[in-house]
């Protein structure tokens, strides 16, 4: 039985009871409990089933290292699997459920796997991949998918919000135990900025539980004083519930703060991901106790000795009435003493060491505890709960000397310093054979840009496990002088004795039951099998056996595992080495990684000054880059296609209004601007007269067309270059790249003025009438001919009016200051009512231009198309010595007459060709694929012509006018005739009025 003790519990508040549930059963806990503590207080030792064998599993640890005791927490959208009960703070109404158990936790069908121990050995997955070939897909994969996995996946979107924040510090201290506090205080005393982060809600770490005294005071009192002193320093920031997840190059540190996990329903970000630049990182991350490898060490009720002590002292929880302690070191005796202090029974301490002489064992003996030297556990008796341990000689092969009844086993195999944050950015480790642990090697610490070490471990994390040495080390690492270090007093501990297997000569039958990795069900026998099968590299063995690959990342299991591997390979542990420590230290939430980027602020949405109006009209949107442009403005009862047809027809017959604000507008100015633009564009811009416009094509240095637009010459030394909507930033960067990197001595400046202007296209036979009605400028054919612009005032608003057309109609594009864009738009709508004005969207733009055979970069081009392919030779200067792309366009492949070139396509039956479809050609290519001779690049229903029209790229297309091609779509063949791509008003009479 585990239960709540009548008194004590330094972290719980008995005046604040909390109700929660586990697998539907109502339970009670107290504020300050972890879920694990509260479950134990309700006698719930069995928490889940293991990953592979579905063995019953209980609570093993009391902190972040816990491999087993995970639950599905919450319900509906807040359901979250794999929540570690040992680090989750209890809250009112918490709903928890066991995982990986079917049909129930107490009776699990999958536990039959238990009998199949021998049939699911190391490398099971790999072996099933290999032979026989069909078996993985048809037999093993379905089987494994059915039984593997841990928690259930939530089916609804996470309703909580998350955020990120940036911070900067001189010294970041990870860990708020006594070492971290000491290091932080020492560092802060030098005036540096110090950021102290602690993963739990509490300061002081293990010291208060271990009964350490510091500066003559109980640890609790010293911790409270020190935290208060640090909090009072203006150069120190303290954050608890904030776990350092990763340390990266250049002092970049990622930490996750659990802001509101313990306050569900509060209007708070649940997690906050901190992105920190630290001058130096001090990892005061403590040490994690190791389990001992004895048979059935995964039976619920077998726990780490330090955890047993934590539950008793911190939460007043008795893990069992009778606890047998099994150890190879003195520290575990503290657990025995704590249990006695709580009025519980310790029938025996089994100490693997042949001779036990330390101060702590003396205290235990003095209180009447049986200390059995040179003894170990042969086997734990019990299924879903410990019933007894069988005692054996550690030096032997497991013959049972006696059986001791108990309901809890507190085991300790020594401690492993938490070197993760030191190792993640490349710090190297030393093997301390006497203490059986890896410690950070300060001589091979991670180095920063200046070549100096930027991560150091402090206290237990650096291997200083005993209190006095721990504080002295932390104080020194923090930069303090030796004599000012805080003094800690604790009983001296005698040396531990590494024990990798218990008993050391255990036969196969016992080794089959000795768990190394409790979460992934990896046993001593599995690692030994891997070694026998030829695995020598620890990294390979890890993957083959899955040792340390679970969500706990082997915090408890890795050292034991590689010790077993080293033994099997007959080499010392340092020769085997460790696996690589990678961030995050413990899992962090995807929500925190995504941060604020969800919902309305998932991504930046660029809005034109008229965006809100479009929205109010119920515009159907089309994303264009980060902009959202109206695709069409459907009226009541209209389909989108009907709306597009209406908008096209109205623009051709009366008047259309388009928000063209998204078009890129780049100002290029300087004495060398003309020369520069002659390089950027295929045509000649330097000769363009002031006041005139010219269509330009931009190619990259490989000759491929990357953008197009109208260039206007504003003055003797300045040009305004229009780009496509999606191309503004890209083309501006392209220009700056060439100016800054190649032609740095040319006198040219550019400025991206895209957003300075709202731009409105006024298109259709009534366009001029509308401008005249708005009033203020002469926009007559004579004053403002095609491909010119003028500046003035329209409707009282400063305007630059371009007489250009992308539709074939009489058309003006009017640029006004963005702050008056909506006002100008409104003026147009009001004045245009009697002229039959309707706004139109991007799809009507596409249809109008396709009817005229105009290309769109991104439709007719795909990064492999040169202007010559598109019949745009007229826009390419033959006289210029050079422009970007010229030489590439002269390469033989580019001048090959077989290239696919632009033509119009009309279906014989008037239908609309599907977009992107291919025209097959006879024969197959080298890969056995059908040859092709062309494809559709743009295709629409033309309301003007009443039939489908299309453009496409066809091999030798312009030379094959009138030929009928077969296009294949969804197995159907559609016949289309090659024709001129200008379907409407070929002579341009409509725009030239």
């Amino acid at each position: 039985m585990s239960t709540r003790l009548a008194t004590g519990g330094r972290l719980i508040d008995r005046t604040k009871p909390l109700a929660f549930s586990f697998d539907g059963r109502a339970m009670r806990g107290f504020a300050g409990d972890t879920l694990a503590a509260a479950l134990l207080a309700n006698d719930q030792m069995l928490i889940g089933r293991s990953f592979k064998y579905h063995r019953p599993r209980g609570i093993l640890a009391s902190g972040v290292e816990e491999p087993n005791a995970m639950v599905a927490l919450g319900q509906g959208p807040r359901l979250e699997p794999d929540q570690r009960t040992t680090t989750t703070e209890l809250f009112e109404g918490a709903t928890t459920a066991s995982q990986n158990a079917w049909p129930s936790l107490d009776f699990d069908v999958g536990a039959l796997n238990n009998l199949a121990y021998r049939f699911l050995p190391a490398g099971f997955y790999y072996k099933t991949f290999m032979f026989p070939r069909f078996a993985w897909k048809h037999l093993f994969e379905p089987l494994v998918r059915q039984s593997a996995g841990i928690g259930p996946v939530p089916k609804e979107a996470d309703p909580d919000r998350y955020e990120q924040a940036y911070d900067f510090t001189d010294v970041l201290v990870a860990g708020g135990g006594v070492a971290g506090l000491t290091a932080a205080l020492a560092a802060a005393s030098t005036g540096q900025r110090v950021l102290l982060l602690e993963q739990t809600p509490h300061w002081g770490g293990r010291a208060p539980v271990d009964g350490i005294e510091i500066e003559g005071k109980p640890a609790d009192a010293w911790v409270a004083e020190t935290v208060a002193a640090l909090a009072a320093m203006p150069n120190v920031i303290l954050r608890n519930r904030c776990m350092v997840a990763g340390v990266y190059d250049h002092g970049y540190v990622v930490a996750q703060e659990a802001v509101a996990d313990h306050l569900p329903g509060a209007d708070l970000p649940r997690h906050r991901l901190w992105r920190i630049r630290a001058g130096r990182v001090i990892a005061a991350t403590g040490a994690i106790e190791r389990p001992l490898a004895f048979a059935a060490n995964d039976t619920p009720g077998v726990m780490l000795a330090s955890a047993v002590r934590d539950y008793v002292v911190n939460w007043a929880v008795s893990p069992g009435d009778r606890t047998v302690v099994v150890t190879n070191n003195d520290d575990a005796y503290r657990t025995a003493l704590a249990l006695l202090d709580a009025g519980l029974v310790v029938p025996a301490i089994l100490d693997a060491r042949a001779s036990v002489t330390g101060e702590l064992p003396a205290l235990a003996r003095a209180r009447g505890i049986r200390v059995l030297e040179g003894r170990g556990v042969a086997k734990v008796k019990g299924g879903k709960r410990v019933r007894a341990v069988e005692v054996c000689v550690q030096a032997g092969e497991g013959a049972v000397l006696e059986t001791i009844a108990c309901d809890c086993v507190a085991m300790s195999g020594g401690f492993s310093p938490v070197v993760h944050l030191f190792s993640q950015p490349g710090g190297k480790l030393l093997w301390d054979a006497a203490n059986g642990m890896f410690t950070p090697d300060p001589a091979r610490a991670p180095t920063g840009a200046d070549g100096a070490a930027f991560v150091a471990c402090a206290g237990a994390a650096s291997g200083a496990l005993q209190a006095a040495a721990c504080l002295a080390d932390a104080h020194a690492v923090g930069g303090g002088k030796a004599k000012s270090a805080p003094k800690a007093t604790a009983p001296d501990e005698a040396p531990m004795q590494p024990v990798w297997m218990m008993p050391q000569g255990a036969p196969v039958a016992l080794r089959f039951k000795m768990l190394l990795d409790f979460q992934n069900d990896v046993k001593v026998s599995d690692v030994q099998l891997a070694a026998r099968e030829g695995y020598e590299s620890v990294e390979h063995t890890k993957r083959y056996t899955t040792l340390g690959m679970a969500s706990d990342q082997g915090k408890m299991s890795n050292i034991n595992g590689l010790a077993i591997l080293s033994d099997a390979l007959g080499q010392p542990i340092p020769a085997t080495g460790t696996t690589t420590f990678r961030p995050p230290y413990a899992p962090i939430s995807f929500g925190a990684v995504a941060g604020e980027a969800r919902g309305a602020v998932f991504a930046p949405l660029r809005r034109t000054p008229m965006h809100a109006w479009h929205e109010a009209q119920g515009a159907h949107w089309e994303p264009v880059g980060l902009w959202r442009r109206p695709y069409c403005y459907p009226r009541a009862g209209e389909t989108h296609a009907q709306a597009v047809n209406r908008e096209v027809t109205n623009t051709r017959n009366a008047l259309g209004l388009l928000d063209a604000s998204t078009l890129g507008k780049i100002l290029v100015k300087g004495p060398d601007a003309g020369r520069f633009l002659d390089m950027i564009y295929t045509g000649v811009m330097s000769t363009l007269p002031v006041g005139k416009c010219r269509y330009g094509l931009t190619c990259n240095e490989n000759g491929f067309l990357i953008d197009d637009g109208v260039v206007a010459r504003l003055s003797e030394d300045s040009w305004l270059c229009h780009t496509t909507s999606g191309g503004a930033d890209r083309i501006h960067a392209h220009m700056e790249d060439w100016l800054q990197c190649e032609w740095w001595d040319w006198k040219v400046y550019t400025a991206n003025l895209t957003e300075q202007f709202a731009q409105v296209a006024i298109v259709g036979p009534n366009a001029r009438k509308l401008l005249e009605k708005l009033g203020g400028m002469d926009v007559s054919r004579e004053a403002l001919p095609f491909m010119t612009f003028a500046e003035g005032t329209l409707a009282g608003i400063a305007a630059r009016v371009f007489r250009i057309s992308f539709s074939g109609e009489l058309s003006y594009e009017v640029a006004v200051p963005a702050a008056q864009g909506m006002a100008f738009w409104t003026a147009c709508l009001e004045a245009g009512t009697e002229l039959g004005l309707m706004p139109y969207g991007t799809e009507a733009v596409h249809v109008l231009r396709a009817e005229k055979g105009f290309i769109i970069v991104g439709d007719e081009t795909d990064g492999t198309v040169i202007p010559q392919d598109l019949g745009l030779g007229w826009a390419i200067s033959k006289k210029k010595p050079d422009y970007l792309g010229k030489r590439a366009q002269e390469r033989s492949h580019m001048t090959n007459p077989d290239r696919w070139r632009l033509v119009g396509l009309e279906t014989l039956d008037g239908s609309v060709l599907p977009d992107g479809v291919l025209a097959p050609a006879p024969g197959v290519n080298a890969n056995g694929q059908r040859n092709t001779q062309g494809r559709v690049t743009s295709t629409y229903f033309s309301p003007t012509l009443g039939r489908g029209i299309a453009m496409g790229l066809v091999r030798q297309g312009p030379e094959r006018m009138g030929e009928v091609l077969d296009f294949v779509a969804d197995g159907k063949t559609i016949k289309a005739r090659i024709c001129d791509q200008v379907f409407y008003d070929k002579d341009g009479e409509k725009q030239n009025v």
Binding site: E596, V601, G670, I797, A818
Partner: protein, 186 residues
């Protein structure tokens, strides 16, 4: 004639700090050789401000001049004066190789004020606010978009972004300023 409007129409949000669309602000981009005496003189005449040092912003009354890059300044003047000021600077620098452009409408200006204003922006911008002095303009990003910010008054930061993303930035600022989500030390 219609009155110009700012992107967010003067909206504001009250959280643990105050977030507000600061309305229209005259802004002029000036690119040129910042070492030239002519530029210093023209800027002084237009704004009353001396040229800022790299990363600096110099303020005088309602005008300010910010260093944007080794060859670019941003002149801040009242919105109504921007066009005239740009013209005056252009005229003063006639014959020099410079680019002068009124960019007032291409931008949005926000003010974040209150004792914890820094914390709102620390959630969005990788900036060491504890070491951002008055008189320095920082070009950075706010979450996913470009931004520039500086201390415009005690307990007040000003932030400039592009006009098209004003709604995105306003939403970010308001979200980050939600009461209860302060970045307080434990």
């Amino acid at each position: 004639m219609s009155d110009p409007v700012s992107a967010m129409g003067g909206q504001s949000y009250e959280g643990f700090a105050h977030v507000a669309d600061a309305g229209l602000q005259g802004m002029i981009t000036l690119r040129g050789d910042l070492g030239s005496a002519a530029i210093a003189k023209a800027v002084k005449a237009a704004t009353g401000c001396a040229l800022p040092a790299p990363r600096g912003i110099v303020t005088k009354g309602q005008a300010a001049v910010a260093w944007m890059s080794p060859d670019e300044l941003l002149l801040l003047v009242p919105y109504a004066e921007a066009e005239a000021t740009a013209a005056a600077v252009s005229a003063a620098l006639a014959g020099e190789h410079v680019l002068v452009a009124n960019v007032s409408d291409a931008r949005a200006l926000f003010r974040v004020s209150g004792a914890k204003a820094d914390q709102v922006l620390a959630k969005l911008c990788p900036v060491d606010f504890a070491r951002l002095p008055a008189g320095e303009l920082r070009r950075t990003r706010a979450a996913q978009v470009a931004a520039a910010l500086w201390r415009s008054a005690p307990d007040e930061l000003s932030l400039i972004c592009f006009r098209s993303v004003a709604g995105y930035v306003y939403d970010l600022l308001a979200l980050s300023a939600r009461t209860g989500s302060e970045l307080t030390s434990a």
